[in-house]
Symmetry: C3
Subunit: 257 residues, 3 copies
């Protein structure tokens, strides 16, 4: 139904892999490379030109790379200069601005807004409507929930751009805010609606506004379920340890390296 | 202006009622049924295929029903497998995922994001940018305001999906969050920015994070206005009791049944 | 790349200035006027008709004015009856409803949602995903950050529409909420996640929910940086005093008047 080649534009300077499908009404601009077996749904724009394009006669679109096995859902905009790793998937209407680098097997939800110069590791999942400011960075296996925000201006308005960092395995709840330049450790749980205003050590549960570190996550007990964190032993969907278990996978990683 | 049939695609397997208008650049996929006198504006996608479509050669699009007298504004995406009742209306760029069932005379605002398997009653109004997770349910005559969220994962990340419930006649303020599996009663008022973390009895006013039930809504007095809640006696726009009053309408309902 | 005139519709009753570029898949409806040297990117709709268009056979689209030197990014919707001043720029997927008047040199970020009858002065900057309800007004040189909201219904649901006001030079943090009818003074700083529930005097720093005026902004000291507010002496990007300084510019304004 979707791939009938109606109103599709692919630049002659784009490089499209094998078994790539491009949905109706989509546009692939100059210097975009799309890996094998990827699907770009309808109404998408890949390789959206930077602002200088509107002003400069000799504008050259920076290289954009979409890895193999991607599934980019409809109405999404990926700017030129981005790199999306293998197995990337997205919801609808995402916006990823220039020079954003995303590792492999990440999923970016409907209406997410990555402002550019953002770095995201592997196997991260941003749910709907997450906003990440310029120069923020995110580790591996990080989950951000709807309307969570990473900001970057410590004294607005200013020209200072000071993105924070979220460590690997951390969960960031709905409507949580990470203030400019703040470092959030690994294996943390940031509660819904928290405002993260100072450095968060590894293994912290954080709640509230102003934030408090309420406990070590390894001590957190859920009635009838034991200690649910770190979560890697109890959740494996779409994770590299799916079916084999986190410990076994870690061991293999150790052996391989 | 809008209905000049430019770049419109309607599947030969869709069923379009009488006096239906479909805006330019819109797409109606397989097995969609659109009721009489409905208007689908431009750049919409109705019957968006499920993820299995991208993988299965023999994919069959589930049935999608848009009731009569609908007005779906531009750039909206309605997944296959949804049922939208009579008199449905929407803002722009809404996303409604699969197996969502919405009653009659509901209005879903610009940028709303219903994640699928959501149940909504009749005469509800979701303002802009409301996010509803999978398996959540909403009664009748419920209003949700911008950036309010219903979540569903009690221990993220997990495979547990535990949507909450909002009872009839309840108002949910801007930026309010209903945590996973929480039951909110009927005729409540959830204040702006509240985090609803436990069961809310009928007729409660709730505020804050952590939430507090601050009073019985029937006792709430506004200076110079008396007792504004329950609200049905003072507000009737687009409600079934418009022009006749809530009490009279209730009586008729009683007689009819 | 963008302006190859594919699937563009411009009403014969629109008035397009010199050196205007209109992106592929964009639509310009009746009675729209676009100033010289403006760029409308792809997939945009300018002059979106009001709801009465769907019902009235003799509907006439109200006049819409986009000033000169505008840059409206892709997938944006501007309703008929809006006026956007000189040098307007936008992110992607903005929605501006009818009878909104925006001064000169404003920037409206990706996914912003202005609900109509909104008034915005000059040199304002709304970052991504700001929601402004009907009848709200905003002064000059105001910055609103992501997911901030101005509401307008004091006793929901009601027919009362009571938009608030944000004074000139004020900064409104991420996820902040301005409640219905509230007046926020000039030169204020509204902290992230605040709920502004009562009148805010000029030069206030406001934080929290419930809000507190925590200090006079002129007394706020940042270690190693002195007193950063008012901000006009330390920030001039895209401001009319860029390169000459705020004081000198103010003096010129005084002399000119």
């Amino acid at each position: 139904m979707k791939f009938s080649n109606r109103n599709v534009y692919v630049s002659s300077r784009a490089k499209v892999g094998r078994n790539v499908r491009i949905g109706d009404n989509s546009t692939i601009y100059d210097n975009v490379e799309i890996g094998d077996n990827s699907t770009i749904c309808n109404h998408c724009v890949i390789g959206e030109p930077l602002v200088s394009y509107y002003r400069e006669a000799d504008y050259e679109n920076p290289a954009t790379v979409v890895g193999p096995n991607a599934l980019i859902r409809s109405h999404s905009i990926i700017y030129a200069g981005c790199t999306l790793g293998e197995g990337f998937s997205s919801g609808h209407r995402i916006t990823i601005r220039e020079r954003t680098a995303i590792g492999s097997h990440c999923s970016i939800g409907t209406l997410c807004d990555l402002q550019g110069n953002v770095t995201i590791g592997n196997y991260c999942r941003l749910h709907s409507n997450v906003h990440v400011s310029q120069t923020c960075s995110i580790g591996d296996f990080v989950f951000l929930y709807p309307f969570s925000v990473m900001t970057n201006d410590p004294c607005p308005p200013s020209k200072e751009v000071k993105g924070g960092r979220i460590g690997s395995y951390t969960q960031v709840g709905v409507h949580a805010i990470v203030l400019p330049g703040i470092q959030v450790g690994e294996n943390c749980l940031i509660g819904a609606n928290s405002v993260v205003s100072k450095k968060v050590p590894d293994f912290s549960i954080v709640m509230g506004d102003p934030m408090r570190v309420v406990m070590d996550i390894r001590k957190y007990v859920v009635m009838g379920k034991g200690r649910p964190y770190p979560w890697m032993n109890r959740f494996d969907r779409d994770m590299p340890w799916e079916g084999i278990g986190y410990e076994a996978w870690m061991q293999r990683q150790g052996n391989a390296s």
